[in-house]
């Protein structure tokens, strides 16, 4: 990389809509985040509508988090979730967060059967 140009351009640089790297979030954060979920892609299949979180697949604290979040107003901008293996990728605008949760992924997959 040509560092000279980096230094020359520094003053003019701003960061509109930065492309964020995928990051890990906790299961709790994800469930809270999931209140606005409008779409779930399980493999190549896209499912419209709210994301059903089966209570049997979550422990009590997580169920509580879900319950709390469900009482909030639905996000105007839907989140999109892709489920592949035990990973759930949550997308909103440029942002992507990845959650590894085999229980939740399998519960969603079971709902698709």
């Amino acid at each position: 990389m040509n560092k000279k140009y980096l230094s020359q351009e520094k003053n003019a640089i701003e960061k509109p809509e930065p492309e964020k790297e995928s990051k890990k979030i906790s299961r709790r954060e994800f469930l809270k985040y999931g209140v606005g979920v409008a779409a779930v892609a399980a493999g190549a299949t896209v499912l419209m509508g709210g994301l059903p979180i089966p209570t049997g697949a979550t422990n009590s604290s997580q169920t509580k988090a879900t319950s709390t979040s469900q009482s909030r107003a639905t996000s105007k901008t839907p989140l999109v979730v892709m489920v592949k293996g035990d990973e759930l990728t949550v997308m909103n605008g440029n942002d992507e967060v990845v959650v590894k949760d085999a229980d939740l992924a399998s519960a969603i997959a079971a709902k698709m059967e």
């Binding site: 990389m1 040509n2 000279k4 140009y5 980096l6 351009e9 520094k10 003019a12 640089i13 701003e14 960061k15 509109p16 930065p18 492309e19 790297e21 409008a38 779409a39 892609a41 896209v46 419209m48 105007k76 901008t77 839907p78 989140l79 999109v80 892709m82 990728t89 997308m91 909103n92 605008g93 440029n94 992507e96």
Partner: protein, 476 residues
């Protein structure tokens, strides 16, 4: 075509389909480089009421590698947004469009230009401009009566950062698609084809069609810090390519009739590359069907994985079969096992650049050992005063494959190269077939069509104004 509808998946996504890429030292401003990235293949100029335009959901990029590693060091990103003037009419315009802010024009498009230093997704970003206007398409004498003025007013000079244009242009890439895709027939010599028909003149199949061009005329100093005083200095050459990317996810909604705010569509996630283009005809002709979609997604620094398609190209093997007896020396060469006759001439021309000393009279456009599909341009070589449309094959060191100018006949050049025209430079025991001189599609330039008065413009953006939908024609 150089990259029009060249892969199964991108053929279903025209607004994201790279069609041609040009890069050359600007003949009228030799301290600048002009890069033109075309998208949307074979636009029908009369295709209203929703005429062609850039995708407002596509990230368009022009990328520069200035250190030979096949990775971008400077990227220009272009994002478009639409603005509907009057939503209560079906018309693109409700009267003549006389300026870029004419209220008669209902479907306008604006774009931003962002420069990224370093990797395109993580480097340092600077927004060079926002809300730059694209011109309307060329409709006809009632809607766009002074089209040249309209289009020229959409050329934006960004005060030393470059000059930019994004809008419809004539499809000036000249090619006889009708014959080439009919089992590689070349009309002038099709009497020699395995399935012969009488010889005929070539036909420019793209005549009368349009494309959408992103054109940038950028000071050389914005692209590299090389001194550019010595054409044999390896740092004088840069690699250029263009891409289109879409967000990872796209979800359609059923709208509620009473909800005017429902977007009908949600797009989310990172941008994923769906199309790319460096050298002409690579994904079109070199890469096989099963790898084309994958190739479009890959980055140039990974292109050594496609090496086998360059060293033993399918087209090379077809030529002696489709034209029996026409290429005896090439046919004889092909009796040897592929590993013993690698086409290192094509590897040099298309994957690394040509090193110094290989082509007499040509310094080099070698960018290093990294094999990458880049359009390589030696910035220290001055524009030609008397250009040859056969570029380097015609003795013109400022032409393809040293960059690509709008008038370069890349079809003829690459056909001749694949047939072995310069294989003797890397394999002195090989003698190019004498018939290679007759290998030609029979189309040598873009035909002149009103409102243009020449095949190409002599100044930026060089590609001709688009043909009006009202009076276009596609026949010769």
């Amino acid at each position: 075509m150089t990259s029009h509808r060249e892969a199964p998946r991108i053929s279903q996504d025209p607004v994201a389909d790279n069609t041609d890429l040009y890069a050359f030292v600007s003949p009228d401003k030799p301290d600048t480089v002009t890069v033109i990235a075309n998208y949307i293949p074979l636009e029908e100029p009369a295709g209203g009421p929703n005429f062609n335009q850039f995708g407002d959901d596509v990230l368009y990029e022009i990328l520069i590698d200035n250190d030979g590693d096949g990775r971008e060091d400077v990227t220009y990103q272009f994002r478009f947004k639409n603005k509907i003037g009057n939503p209560d009419t079906f018309l693109y315009n409700t009267g003549p469009i006389s300026s870029l802010d004419d209220p008669n024009w209902n479907m306008r498009q604006f774009y931003s230009v962002t420069k990224v230093l370093g990797r395109r997704r993580s480097g340092d970003r600077a927004v060079l401009a926002k809300n730059l206007a694209s011109p309307p398409v060329n409709i006809g004498p009632r809607s766009t009566p002074k089209y040249t003025d309209l289009a020229n007013s959409a050329i934006h000079d960004l005060n030393g950062a470059g000059t930019f244009f994004a809008g419809q242009r004539d499809e000036a890439f000249f090619v006889d698609l009708g014959s080439i895709f009919d089992l590689a027939a070349l009309r002038p010599v099709q009497s020699l084809h395995l399935i012969p028909t009488p010889g005929a003149s070539g036909v420019d199949t793209t005549k009368g069609f349009s494309v959408h061009s992103i054109a940038a005329q950028i000071p050389k100093s914005e692209l590299t810090d090389a001194s550019l005083s010595d054409p044999t200095d390896p740092s004088s050459s840069i690699g250029i390519w263009a891409t289109a990317s879409r967000r990872r996810a796209r979800v359609l909604h059923n709208a509620e009739p009473e909800d005017d705010d429902d977007p009908l569509l949600t797009e989310a996630g990172q941008f994923i590359q769906v199309s790319r283009l460096g050298e002409p005809l690579i994904n079109e002709v070199i890469i096989p069907l099963g790898a084309k979609d994958f190739w479009n997604n890959q980055e140039p620094y990974n292109d050594s994985q496609f090496l086998k398609y360059y060293t033993n190209p399918e087209l090379q093997n077809l030529l002696p079969v489709l034209y029996p007896g026409v290429f005896p020396n090439l046919a004889s060469l092909l009796t040897q096992s592929p590993p013993s006759r690698p086409r290192n001439d094509l590897v040099a021309i298309l994957l690394t650049g040509i090193p110094n000393g290989v082509v007499p009279g040509f310094s080099e456009n070698f960018t290093g050992s990294t094999q990458a599909d880049l359009l390589r341009l030696n910035l220290a070589i001055s524009p030609a005063s008397n250009p040859s449309r056969l570029g380097l094959l015609g003795g013109d060191v400022a032409g393809f494959p040293n960059g690509r100018r709008v008038a370069d006949n890349v079809i003829d050049i690459e056909l001749k190269a694949v047939a072995g025209a310069v294989y003797n430079l890397v394999n002195p025991s090989f003698t190019p077939d004498s018939n290679i001189s007759a290998v030609s599609q029979g189309v040598d330039t873009n035909p002149v069509q009103p409102p243009n008065t020449d095949s190409f413009l002599s100044t930026f953006p060089y590609l001709p104004h688009p043909v009006p939908g009202y009076e276009h024609s596609h026949d010769p």
